[in-house]
């Protein structure tokens, strides 16, 4: 396949990728969108393999790599639990970052394969692009590894902050710039690897101070970075398909980050500087807050009785539901309540869960029809005429302090108005505050009933009493 033909094939692949993203905008067309993406990727790989000059040994190596990676990817994708989706996506982002680092290295050691000069004598413009692709790739890699470790519980989700952190990051950033300039001037291999090392360190330091509650932003941001890394490599090796696709992914990730930030009423800078939610209090049921009215704790049987007589019930799931793997039993409860004549809907806050849209996937996994699941703007007005709001594993996103208390860490965050329902059930393990470290005054209201315990067990007990 000649150059022109392969360029044409890349064009077709780019168009298919755009159509894939377009298809993903609607549940009806989404599966088709994935198909477009797969075809596009197939075309891109085939067209590259058929390029003139590809050695037979090289092709065998490529096929081996595709087979090994493909097998691992397939097995992982089939085995992964939907609850662990955020960490899987973070791990995948790290792979894109690492692949970018390796392609940059290959381009550095064999520039003639990409027509950007000769070993030891690479065009200055290409060196600039190369260091860009390398740095973004390396930052994506180490940042995603930290995000993975935090999401997977291999390291604490709480922000790690030390004195002079921002100064250190700024200094390292400046040093990176100096290294890039020196690298472009000299083309030295040592500087190449120093840039890689420093970028790894930067990616690590950038994500470490960001707390668990901000993970949806981090995951979207790394999604965006992985796109920019691909685009950077595209510039390096002069490949338009990589540039177009990288830009598409970068833009998509940036939009998701923006939506997540808006969902918390925080600026991206504020998230990046980190440290949010450091004062998370841990307390047993009913402990502390002695000056307030005592909380009203109820039994699952009480909840079952009240819900049996309710007309309209809104379920508000949060990360706690995912942790307890309670989505299936929540749907069972909803089915039983529907038989009793209740109208059930689900309300999802934009930042519920640990990655954008995570709750929707979990509910879909439990066979909840997607037209029963509503976003904040769609459903918020309906809490006023709901009989019951069943809040399971969510806290901060229901806290009215976001509307009233200007000193609160979550002030200005759009919240679900659960307090307007006639009765609010909170399924929680204890009285600990949410990720933002803010007390929720809703717990102390007369129309609130706390159901203390594991989200899954409590809901199971409700199901049992409903069946009686």
């Amino acid at each position: 396949m000649g150059q022109t033909l392969s360029t044409l094939a890349y064009l077709v692949a780019s168009v298919l990728f755009i159509m894939a993203l377009r298809g993903l905008s609607n549940p009806e067309t989404s599966r088709q969108g994935v198909l477009y993406g797969m075809i596009g990727m197939g075309i891109a790989i085939l067209a590259t393999l058929l390029r003139p000059g590809m050695g037979a040994g090289g092709i065998v190596l490529v096929l081996a790599g595709l087979a090994i990676g493909g097998t691992i990817g397939t097995v992982v994708a089939q085995r992964i639990q939907m609850t662990s989706l955020p960490q899987l996506v973070a791990a995948f982002h790290s792979l894109v970052g690492m692949a970018a680092v390796f392609v940059a290295a290959a381009a550095f050691y064999s520039p003639e394969s990409f027509g950007i000069g000769f070993a030891g004598n690479i065009k200055a413009a290409s060196l600039v692009e190369m260091s860009l692709g390398l740095a973004i790739g390396a930052i994506t890699f180490s940042g995603s590894v930290i995000a993975f470790a935090k999401l997977d519980g291999r390291m604490s989700g709480s922000p790690i902050i030390f004195k002079g952190q921002h100064m250190l990051n700024a200094a390292l950033g400046a040093l990176l710039l100096v290294l890039v300039i020196a690298f472009v001037a000299t083309g030295s291999p040592i500087l190449f690897w120093l840039i890689a090392l420093l970028s790894f360190a930067l990616g690590f330091l950038l994500i470490v101070p960001i707390g668990g509650a901000d993970m949806p932003v981090v995951v979207s941001m790394l999604n965006s970075y992985s796109g920019w890394a691909a685009a950077g490599i595209g510039f390096t090796i002069g490949n338009l398909l990589l540039i177009v696709t990288g830009a598409l992914v970068g833009a998509s990730g940036a939009i998701l980050s923006y939506i997540m930030c808006k969902g918390m009423n925080r600026s991206i800078i504020n998230v990046l500087l980190g440290g949010f939610g450091t004062t998370g209090g841990e307390a047993g049921p009913g402990a502390g807050n002695a000056d307030r009215a005592p909380v009203k704790a109820g039994s699952p049987e009480d909840a079952a009785y009240i819900m049996k007589n309710a007309q309209k019930i809104i379920i508000v799931p949060g990360y706690g539901m995912a942790v307890a793997q309670a989505q299936q039993v929540v749907r069972e409860m909803a089915d039983l309540l529907k038989k009793e004549g209740a109208e059930i809907s689900y309300a999802i806050h934009p930042v519920a869960g640990r990655m954008p849209g995570h709750m929707n996937v979990l509910l879909a996994e439990a066979n909840v029809p997607y037209d029963e699941v509503h976003e904040l703007e769609e459903i918020n007005a309906e809490f006023a005429d709901a009989d019951v709001a069943y809040v399971i594993g969510a806290n901060d996103v229901t806290n009215p302090a976001a509307k009233t208390d200007k000193t609160s860490a979550i002030y200005g965050m759009p919240i679900l108005d659960v307090e307007r329902a006639k009765t609010v059930f909170f399924v929680k393990r204890g009285m600990a505050s949410g990720y933002a470290g803010v007390d929720n005054e809703l717990f102390f209201r007369p129309n609130t009933m706390m159901l203390f315990g594991d989200a899954k067990k409590v809901t199971q007990q409700i199901v049992q009493s409903l069946q009686k």
Binding site: Y10, F17, L21, R22, L24, S25, P27, S30, R31, V34, G37, G40, M41, L49, R51, M54, G58, L61, V62, G65, G69, I72, G73, V76, A77, F92, L95, V96, A99, F102, A105, A106, A107, Y109, S113, F114, A119, V219, G227, A229, G234, T236, L241, I243, V244, T245, A247, L248, V249, A251, G253, L256, G357, N360, V361, N367, P369, Y370, D371, E375
Partner: protein, 131 residues
Amino acid sequence: MNPQQIANEAASLSDRAALLAEHARQLAETAAPVAAAAEPFLLMLTIFLMACFVGYYVVWNVTPALHSPLMGVTNAISSVIVVGAILATGLAESVAAQIFGFIGVTLASVNIFGGFLVTRRMLSMFKKKGS
């Protein structure tokens, strides 16, 4: 104007044309390397910016319910970086570059297969009421 004069005029005109052509050629020669260096980059930059806008408009209206699948797919297609890795593996003469390329292909393939398949799994779960 007699034929002789016309012929003379024509001859001098053609001389001047030749001179102009020579000038143009010289100019082109000096300009070409500059243009060659600037144009591919400008072209790439143009396409890059256009693609950013396309991405922005295409993704802006995605329903929040599909944010996770969207991420799965963007994750998979960003592994198009495999193209660079394949070229490195197949074209490179240095063994180091070939090894780097091979590792790149393997890493990106995990992502391509894993990303698309996990997205398909997610989407197969989304069902409408009654279906």
